[in-house]
Amino acid sequence: MQNTNASSNAWRNTEITSQEQGRILQKTRAVLRRFTKKRENLVPILQQVQDELGYLPREAMIEIARFLKIPKIDVYEVVTFYNQFRLTPPGRHSIRVCLGTACHMKGGYILLDAWKRRLGIDRGQTTKDREFDLDTVACVGCCAMAPVNVIDKKAEGRVSPTKIDGFLLAFKMEKEKKDKETRWQ
């Protein structure tokens, strides 16, 4: 399976400070405490670790392999097989463009183009400032509202390229407001 998230060198390029590494291990271990050492728990463990960290860094995968007493490559195999798992850190805002049949027919691919153009990244990537990450999703099941974008886990129906500019403007204003507040504090 070709996984857009899992370009082979993605996990090596992620530079991680020792402080971040400590946090990763701590959070991973906290998740592992909820599980027994059974192989069948691998996918739920990965899901929960990703929920905590936003992605699956190399350190977390090694720790999981050690816990389940399985080869590291087995963990990597599962992570790269399923579409849900990502190897790169997420942005503050997640953009998911639905490319289900109905969304595609109603112009989902045009929306993907619009996001790519505006954010300057490809699907499966995160912007340099870690503000946005862009990906596609096979179908979120709101086909009747096509074309759908899932923005920060909220499904937005009947999206158009102009609406995308609107979302970006709203994010920008929100960020400016926050920056101002922190500056005054």
């Binding site: 399923y82 109905a102 112009g107 045009i110 619009a114 153009r117 096979a138 179908c139 909220k154």
Partner: protein, 639 residues
């Protein structure tokens, strides 16, 4: 049906039911109004949560304690967000296309006041003298609700609502029957699996039942991976207990004590609601040890699938449950003899399981009387694409496509012409007009090269390019191929490469024959349903729309004006109003400018073909058009 009455079970159930009925009666006491907001994922995408909050806030301001319920998806997704108001003395009315402002007015005018606000109403939910009922709409002539009967009428997060509407009665009855008799009943009903292949449900159960193994598993397959299908999501979000009840009955019939619901992680609301439903069922002892004092033990775990289309295939699903990549394996052995952890396992689709309580309650004959000779019962379709009434529908097997698309779906919007309908997702096929009057069931669809599959139905009009549709589906299956079988892994990739050439206008006419040949090879050379059906969209579009393929290849023209590389946007100078700047402002890449006479011109080099200008151009001018091939744009403007 042989039922031996057991006083323990009867009294245990009666206790639960009387409490539920009392609460239900309390809600519908005939004195206060009841408000229901349809807030499944589709409703939420349209803003149902905001509407819900507005109604609660408005009522709160007046210290009014009218109950406001969050119900599931009514199936009328086109009119979301939907609000249903039942006010004593008036018929229950469904209001559609509600936004926060309309919601505010509904509260002020109707709930607190007397104005029935007919301008927002879709219709009444019952026959009455006052306003037309939605059941008078042509779609209800064809529809028959079995699976969808509770949807939109109950709060999915409240088990008592389900019980008050007759839920778990079938479970109590089943537990007083012999497991073999249940299987016999399901066999007599003719229930076929709704997962796609249409395999007899009772047969799997029987094989699993007869295995001597002490550990057996029952899995509910809710890995609805087909893009374009959403009825399993709607079922789980709107009526989760129906599925759970079906699972308990099935587990009792086959002798399983462990169950799994395998649901996609992309359906967070479904995961959430099933989790609540499981906890509620456990607390009422409908699940767990000694269910309804019958001595039968069964519990269900919720497992979130991680997004792999191939996991809808049962052996791949089992591999994924075991914590491995979802690679399918050869059958036999079938899961019913050797499945999860090597133990006998029954895997049924959400809908198959949800039929079970209804069949047990109403009897096999009732079910067998619905539908066609070989396909019994109803079919649930998710209508999407270029159709007026997008949403869910449930019709008896044997209804024709024309009835579904034109009567239920309300036809094609904007007066466009129907071109094709894609049935069954990436495994199904594109059918064209000639198939419209065919009664559909499992077998008839197979004959024309499609399949019911999961029940996704995407309607396409004259603006949809069939080559592009085939490319889209193949891109999907190619990406989702797990890579185990060579033909599926490499064959689909080659096929996709050819289709991509076509959509760019670089194909060769002899490729068409190679494509068909390769498609047949992929079908034969693949182990599981994914590879075996992946060529279906290509083969059916080639069968019915060969002329479109030829136009792409020979004339480098996309007849539907859809393929990106073969079209150009153009503003007709004679139609351009000149003093209007709508398109200039709308263009997301600033490719449109005015010439000396203020006529708008698109810079073809900058244009990204997003189509925004076409929507922006006021309908009375309609000056923006698409041209194919792009060479048709007058040379003066191409500089």
């Amino acid at each position: 049906m042989a039922v031996t009455t057991s006083p323990d079970i009867v009294s245990a159930f009666e206790k639960i039911r009387s409490r539920a009925l009392a609460r239900w009666k309390d809600l519908w006491d005939g004195k206060k109004p009841v408000v229901m907001v349809s807030a499944a994922t589709c409703g939420r995408a349209a803003g149902a949560l905001e509407v819900l909050q507005t109604i609660k806030d408005e009522l709160g301001k007046e210290q009014n304690d009218t109950p406001v319920l969050e119900v599931g998806c009514l199936g009328h997704c086109y009119a979301e967000p939907l609000v249903i108001i039942a006010k004593p003395g008036n018929p229950t009315i469904v209001y559609g296309y509600i936004d926060t402002e309309k919601a505010r007015r509904l509260v002020r005018d109707y709930i607190l006041g007397d104005d029935i606000s007919l301008e927002f109403a879709l219709g009444a939910l019952e026959q009455n003298e006052l306003i037309p009922s939605i059941y008078d709409l042509p779609r209800f002539k064809h529809e028959k609700y079995i699976l969808l009967e509770n949807i939109g009428h109950i709060d999915p997060e409240d088990v008592d609502h389900y019980i008050a509407r007759g839920g778990y009665e079938a479970l109590a009855k089943s537990l007083q029957m012999q497991p073999q008799d249940i299987i016999e009943e399901i066999k007599k009903s003719g229930l076929r699996g709704r997962g796609g292949a249409g395999f007899a449900a009772a047969y799997k159960w029987k094989v699993c039942r007869s295995s001597p193994s002490k550990t057996k598993y029952l899995i509910c397959n809710a890995d609805e991976g087909d893009p374009g299908a959403f009825m399993d999501r709607a079922m789980l979000e709107s009526d989760p207990h129906a599925v759970i009840e079906g699972m308990i009955i099935a587990a009792y019939a086959v002798g399983a004590h462990h169950g799994y619901i395998y649901v996609r992680a992309e359906y967070p609301l479904a995961v959430h609601r099933v989790g609540i439903a499981l906890r509620q069922a456990r607390s009422l002892r409908l699940l767990g040890k000694n269910i309804l004092a019958s001595g039968f033990n069964f519990d269900i775990k919720l497992f979130q699938g991680s997004g792999a289309f191939v996991c809808g295939e049962e052996t791949a699903l089992i591999a994924s449950l075991e914590g491995k990549p979802g690679l399918p394996h050869h059958r036999p052995p079938f899961p019913a003899t050797k499945g999860l952890h090597g133990k006998p396992t029954v895997i049924n689709n959400v809908k198959t399981l949800a039929y079970v309580p209804r069949i047990i309650k109403n009897g096999a004959e009732w079910f067998a009387n619905i539908g066609t000779e070989k396909s019994k019962g109803t079919a649930v379709f998710a209508l999407a694409g270029k159709v007026v009434n997008t949403g869910l529908t449930e019709v008896p097997m044997g209804t024709t496509l024309r009835q579904i698309i034109f009567d239920v779906g309300g036809g094609i919007p904007k007066g466009k012409r129907f071109k094709a309908v894609q049935v069954g997702g990436p495994s199904g096929g594109c059918l064209h007009e000639s198939a419209l009057d065919m009664p559909i069931d499992f077998d008839s669809l197979k004959e024309v090269g499609a399949m019911i599959g999961s029940g996704g139905m995407v309607v396409m009009d004259e603006d949809d390019c069939m080559v592009e549709v085939a490319r889209y589906f193949l891109e999907f299956t190619q990406r989702e191929s797990c890579g185990k079988c060579t033909m599926c892994r490499l064959g689909t990739r080659q096929m996709l490469a050819m289709l991509e050439e076509f959509t760019c206008g670089r194909g060769r006419i002899e490729d068409l024959d190679t494509l068909i040949e390769l498609a047949e090879d992929v079908k034969v050379g693949s182990l599981c349903g994914l590879g075996k059906t992946a060529p279906n969209p290509v083969l059916t579009t080639l069968r019915y729309f060969r002329d479109e393929y030829e136009a792409h290849i020979k004339e480098k023209r996309c007849p539907a004006l859809m393929c990106h590389d073969l079209i150009a946007y153009y503003i007709l100078p004679e139609k351009c109003e000149r003093s209007c700047d709508a398109c200039v402002g709308s263009c997301t890449v600033e490719a449109i400018s005015s010439d000396k006479r203020r006529i708008k011109v698109i810079d073809q080099a900058k244009c990204v073909k997003c189509g925004t200008c076409m929507t922006a151009c006021p309908p009375q001018y309609n000056a923006v058009i698409k041209l194919s091939p792009p060479e048709k744009v007058p040379a003066a403007e191409k500089k």
